[in-house]
């Protein structure tokens, strides 16, 4: 079974702090994704990566950056946390890009981030 592990289940940070959310997958998947999930808004794609050192913006990249130095690890960075970034953050991985083959996403259990 694919395992996607997010380093923290809960995080509380202060406004203006730099925040790192880490995600590791153990199935050698090329593709990794970061979503945020908010009530009434569903899952929204922040960034994704097709390969090491490659990244693409999703629908809501503002205020975020990502890093993919190794295939198994994809980090989400909040450069200067703000209260509107309080959310559930979900990492996922997959085989070929969903649009090209329908491969399902395998999600981690999320990091609930609170910015005060």
């Amino acid at each position: 079974d694919v395992k996607v592990t997010q380093s923290s289940r809960y995080l509380v940070k202060r406004t203006g702090e730099k925040v790192f959310l880490e995600c590791v997958q153990d199935m050698d998947h090329e593709n990794m994704f970061w979503y945020r999930q908010d009530p009434g808004l569903g899952l929204r794609l922040i960034y994704f990566s097709y390969d090491v050192k490659m990244k693409e913006k999703g629908d809501i990249p503002e205020g975020y950056s990502v890093s993919r130095e190794k295939k198994e690890r994809f980090s989400l960075i909040l450069e200067s946390a703000s209260t509107n970034q309080t959310s559930m953050y979900l990492c996922a991985s997959s085989l070929p890009p969903p649009g090209q083959g329908g491969s399902p996403l395998h999600f981690g259990n999320g990091t609930r981030l609170t910015v005060t």
């Binding site: 996607v4 569903g42 794609l45 890009p97 649009g99 399902p104």
Partner: protein, 112 residues
């Protein structure tokens, strides 16, 4: 604009009945559609995929239909059980290279 709509109100049904959840979309031409289950405090888990040229897909007690004319997918759980209580998300992608976009999900509550 593009939209994926799932009933935001919870669906309450009695154990043993068939649950039917709806996913409607506009301004998409999806190559396929996926359904996921999400339990509280957990990430979504993939359940089923149905492609644009398929009318229906089954997996155990689950059945998904896909009507590209109506721009709608229906997700059925037959002989529902309290353990089926969760939020169910649909997600779809357009042509090759497009990312998955998720609906807001529908919460299902199965009462014993």
């Amino acid at each position: 604009s593009q939209k994926i709509e799932q009933n935001s109100e919870a669906l309450n049904i009695q154990e043993g009945k068939t649950a039917t959840l709806t996913c409607n979309y506009t301004n998409y031409s999806p190559a396929y559609l996926q359904w996921y289950r999400q339990d509280p405090g957990r990430g979504p888990v993939f359940l089923l995929l149905i492609r644009e040229n398929e009318k229906e897909k089954r997996k155990e007690r689950l059945k998904v239909t896909f009507d590209t004319t109506l721009k709608q997918s229906l997700f059925h759980i037959t002989a529902s059980q309290p353990a089926d209580s969760a939020t169910y998300l649909c997600a779809l992608a357009g042509n090759a290279g497009n990312m998955l976009t998720f609906g807001g999900g529908t919460r299902l509550m199965v009462k014993p």
